[in-house]
Symmetry: C2
Subunit: 455 residues, 2 copies
C-alpha cells in the first residue's frame, strides 16, 4: 500500500526530509507532497545579504533545487501554497493555493512540519510603513535589492545580529549612508563577548558604517513611506529601514493543531525528530533541539541544523534509524572583511547552565607572523574549571582564513576533549597558514592553565 | 647545587627544550648552554623557500629568537660551535668553535640531542659542483636567494617533495625557466595519492613549470659549475640545481657516542623524550616518535613535531611531567596557489600497517557553490573497514582557505572518531566559507558508507 508523506514548508529541513525519505522508499511505497507558502523551495537564506550586496547574481543562484528538480525524483512540490490547518484527528491538512484562491485538503500518513522561523517584528509604531523591510525569504531579498540599487540614500538597520550586519555591509558597499542601531553594548552579542564584538564594530566604522550601541528604537516615523527612526536620544533619517531583530520559530500552525511545544517555544521532538504525535515529525527552525554542552533544549535558527534535522526525519520516515546528535550552535560570518565565528558556550552561558568555567584569550596572526598577509587573529577558549573540558570558543579574524578554525574547536568540544589535550594535537603548519604552534594550541593551553587542568 | 643542561643543536627542538627547562628552573638551579653549528638559532626552515621567492624579507624575519634574546633569559647560546663528540662516560661534550678554530670540552648533567636532519645527497657524479644547492639552513637560503636574484636562467629542482616544489615556485616567480625532476608517478607522493598529486602538477604546469615525472637523475654535468642534469632519457640544461631529495635524521654524533637508535634510524626515545641513556634526551628531527594511527615508530621531519618534542623534553628536564602524545604527520603547503594538506595515513599506508581501510573522495568547492570566489576542493577520507574509524585525510584546494580543513580531520582522527560521527558534527557554515554541508561532512559520510559503518 502506498503511504503519503506531506511536508509543510519547502526549505532546507522540509526538502531534506523529503529527499531522504525518497532515497529509501520509491514512489510505489511512499507518495511525497510538499507545500511551500513562498515562491521558492530549497534556497539559501544565508546567501540573501550577499545577493543584496551584489556579490551573488542572479537570485536563482541561491536556489539549490527547483520544484522541477524534485518532480524528477517523484517529489511533488507546490509553491505559493499555504497550509492553513493541520487536522490531527482526520490526518489531513488544509491548503490554500494563494494564486488561485482555492482551498483543498490533503490526507497524510506521515507529516513533516518544517515551517521555519519568522522575523521578530518590533511592537512599535511605523513598523508597517513602506520602506521598512525584513530579510527572510527570497522575495524579501529581491525587494531589498531593488531598493538598494535604486539608492543611495540613508539606510538604517535595526539590530546587531548576523543578518543585520550583513545587510548593513550590503548597503554600505552600494554607497548608502548606513547606520546600525542596536540595544546591546556591542554587536553579535548572542555569540561574541562584547570586547570581541568591539573588533567588528571597529571594522564597520572603518568602512564608514555608523554603529550606534545601547540605543532603543521607539518608533519608525513617516507618512506612508518611512522617513526616520526615532530612538530615545536621537532621530535617524532613513530612506530604508531593515529590521534585523532576530527570528522566532513559526509554530502557530502546529500549536493550533495541538502538536506540543517545548520549553523554548519550538515544537518538542525526540532525537529522531518525532513530535509527541504519532507519525508527525518536525525539523528545522520550528523544532526544538538540544545543546551538547549544556544538555538543555535550544532552538537555534541555523541552516546547518535545518539540513541535519530534516535529514534525520527523512531517514527515519524512510525506515532507517537516525539520531540527531545535538548542536553546539557553531556559526560564522564575515563582516567588512572580519571573520567572526563561535561554537559551544561562552563563559557566561556555561555559568548559567551550572558549569564552572574559565576563559582564556590568545592573540596572534592568521599566518606565520612574518608572512606578508598576516592579519590579527584572536581566539578565546572556554573550558570547565578543574577538568579543562572544552566548552566553547570564539574567533575574530581580521583577515581571511582565520574564522573556519572554529571547526577544530567544534570537533574537540563535540568529543568533550580537554583543552590540555587539544594543546598537543597535530595540526597543520606552514608559514602561509599559521605559526608553528597554531593559535588554537596557544588558546587551548592558556585555557587549560587557567582551568587548573595542566601543570 | 647548580646542574648543567647542554643542548646540542639550536633550532626549534633544542631551544624549545631550553626555554621550557628555564621556565621551571631558574639559573640558580640549572645552567643552560646550547651549541649550534650554523650562524642561526631558532629559525623557521619552513619559511626559507618563501624568502628565496622574495615573499618574505629580510632573512632575519625568519628568526624567532636571537642568541641575545636567549641570553636575556639566562640561556647561553653559542653559534658556529659544532659539537664533535659526546662522551657519555665522562658526561661531557667536545665543541669545535668554527670561527676561532679552537676546541673545548663542556660537562653536562642533562643533555638534549637536537641535531635535526640533514639533506639526502644523491650518490651521483657532479653533486658537489658549484651551482648545486640544497635548502636546509638559513645560510643555504641566503645563498640560494642570491643565485635566484642573479638570474634568470635554467633552474632544475631534483625531487618532488614539499621543499622541492616550493623552491621551484620561488624560481618560477623570479622568471627562471624551471623544471622539476622526480622519480615518482606524481609529486608529494609521501603525503598524497598520485591522482591528487596530479592536480598539483597541473597547477605547476599552468604556471610554466616543467614537471618531469618518473625520471631517474643519473648525473650532474659541468666543469666546476653545473651545466646540466643527466637523466636516462634526456639531458636538462641547468644554471642552478636544487636538490630536494628529502632529509634523514642527523644521528652520527649520537650513534658514535653509543646512544641507541630506533628502527627508523632516528634516536630511540620514550614518550618523555628520554633516550636509553640516563639524563640524555633527544627531540626534533633526530628523534624517533610514534604514529597515533599505526602505533608504529616514525621519524617525520616537521617543525610542529620538533617544537612539541622539544617542549616535552624541556618540561621534563625542568621537573615537570609531560608525555608526547604522538603524531599524525599532519602537513600542509601551498604550491602555485593550490593548497595541499594531509593527516593520518592513506589507504595504502593503513593496509601496510595491517588495518583494513577504505577511502572515499568528495569534490566540491571551498565556499558555497554560488560564491564568487568558489574554488574546486577535493577531500579524500580514509576509514577503517566495518568500524568507520577515521584513519587519514588528504585535501587539495584549488583556491584559498581549503587546506586548513585538514585540522578538523586531525582532531577527529586524534580521538579515533568514526567517519559516521564526523558526518554529523556541528561545523560552521556561511556562504563565504563552505556549503551548508561542509565538504568534510560529505567526505566523512562517503567514507562511512564505503566502510559499511553507516546504514
Amino acid at each position: 500500500m502506498t503511504r503519503r508523506l506531506v511536508v509543510v514548508g519547502g526549505d532546507a529541513a522540509g526538502m531534506s526530509a523529503a529527499s531522504q525519505a525518497r532515497r529509501r522508499l520509491g514512489p510505489d511505497r511512499l507518495e511525497i507532497v510538499a507545500f511551500e507558502r513562498s515562491s521558492w523551495v530549497s534556497y539559501s537564506a544565508c546567501g540573501e545579504p550577499y545577493f543584496v550586496a551584489g556579490y551573488v547574481d542572479p537570485l536563482s543562484r541561491l536556489v539549490a533545487r527547483t520544484p522541477e528538480d524534485f518532480a524528477a525524483r517523484d517529489i511533488a512540490v507546490h509553491v505559493r501554497s499555504e497550509v492553513t490547518e493541520i487536522d490531527l484527528d482526520r490526518r489531513r491538512v488544509t491548503v490554500h493555493a494563494l494564486d488561485e484562491g482555492r482551498t483543498f485538503r490533503v490526507g497524510f500518513d506521515d507529516l513533516v512540519v518544517a515551517t521555519g522561523a519568522t522575523a521578530v517584528r518590533p511592537d512599535i509604531a511605523g513598523a508597517d510603513l513602506e520602506g521598512v523591510f525584513e530579510l527572510r525569504t527570497l522575495d524579501d531579498a529581491a525587494a531589498l535589492r531593488r531598493v538598494a540599487e535604486a539608492g543611495p540614500g540613508d539606510c538604517v538597520v535595526v539590530g546587531g545580529g548576523y543578518v543585520g550586519l550583513e545587510v548593513a555591509e550590503a548597503f554600505a558597499v552600494r554607497g548608502w549612508r548606513t547606520k546600525v542601531l542596536t540595544s546591546g553594548p556591542s554587536v553579535l552579542e548572542r555569540t561574541l563577548d562584547p570586547d570581541l564584538g568591539a573588533k567588528v564594530v571597529d571594522a564597520m566604522r572603518a568602512r564608514g558604517i555608523d554603529v550606534v550601541l545601547e540605543t532603543q528604537v521607539r518608533c519608525i516615523n513617516g507618512s506612508e513611506r518611512v522617513e526616520s527612526v526615532g530612538c530615545d536620544d536621537a532621530t535617524h533619517p532613513a530612506d530604508v529601514v531593515v529590521l534585523g531583530l532576530g527570528t522566532r520559530p513559526e509554530v502557530d500552525l502546529a500549536a493550533k493543531a495541538g502538536i506540543p511545544l517545548g520549553e523554548t517555544g519550538a515544537i518538542a521532538v525526540d532525537r529522531r525528530q518525532r513530535t509527541r504525535i504519532d507519525g508527525v515529525w518536525a525539523a528545522g527552525d520550528c523544532a526544538e533541539t538540544f545543546h551538547r554542552v549544556t544538555r538543555r533544549p535550544v532552538n537555534p535558527h541555523l541552516g546547518t541544523v535545518a539540513n541535519k534535522t530534516g535529514r534525520v526525519a527523512g531517514i527515519n520516515i524512510g525506515g532507517g534509524d537516525a539520531i540527531f546528535p545535538g548542536v553546539l550552535g557553531t556559526s560564522i560570518t564575515r563582516v567588512c572583511d572580519v571573520e567572526v565565528a563561535s561554537t559551544g558556550v561562552r563563559e557566561s552561558e556555561a555559568e548559567e547552565a551550572g558549569i564552572a568555567a574559565v576563559s582564556a584569550t590568545a592573540t596572534g596572526t592568521t599566518t606565520a607572523g612574518y608572512w606578508p598577509e598576516a592579519a590579527p587573529l584572536t581566539i578565546r577558549a572556554t573550558a570547565e574549571r578543574d577538568t579543562g573540558r572544552l566548552l566553547g570558543a570564539q574567533i575574530v579574524s581580521e583577515g581571511p582564513a582565520g574564522g573556519k578554525r572554529i571547526d577544530v574547536f567544534a570537533v574537540a568540544i563535540w568529543t568533550s576533549m580537554p583543552a590540555q589535550e587539544l594543546a598537543w594535537t597535530d595540526l597543520a603548519y606552514a608559514p602561509p597558514f599559521s605559526g608553528v604552534w597554531d593559535l588554537i594550541h596557544i588558546a587551548a593551553r592558556k585555557a587549560a592553565t587557567r582551568a587548573g587542568s595542566i601543570q
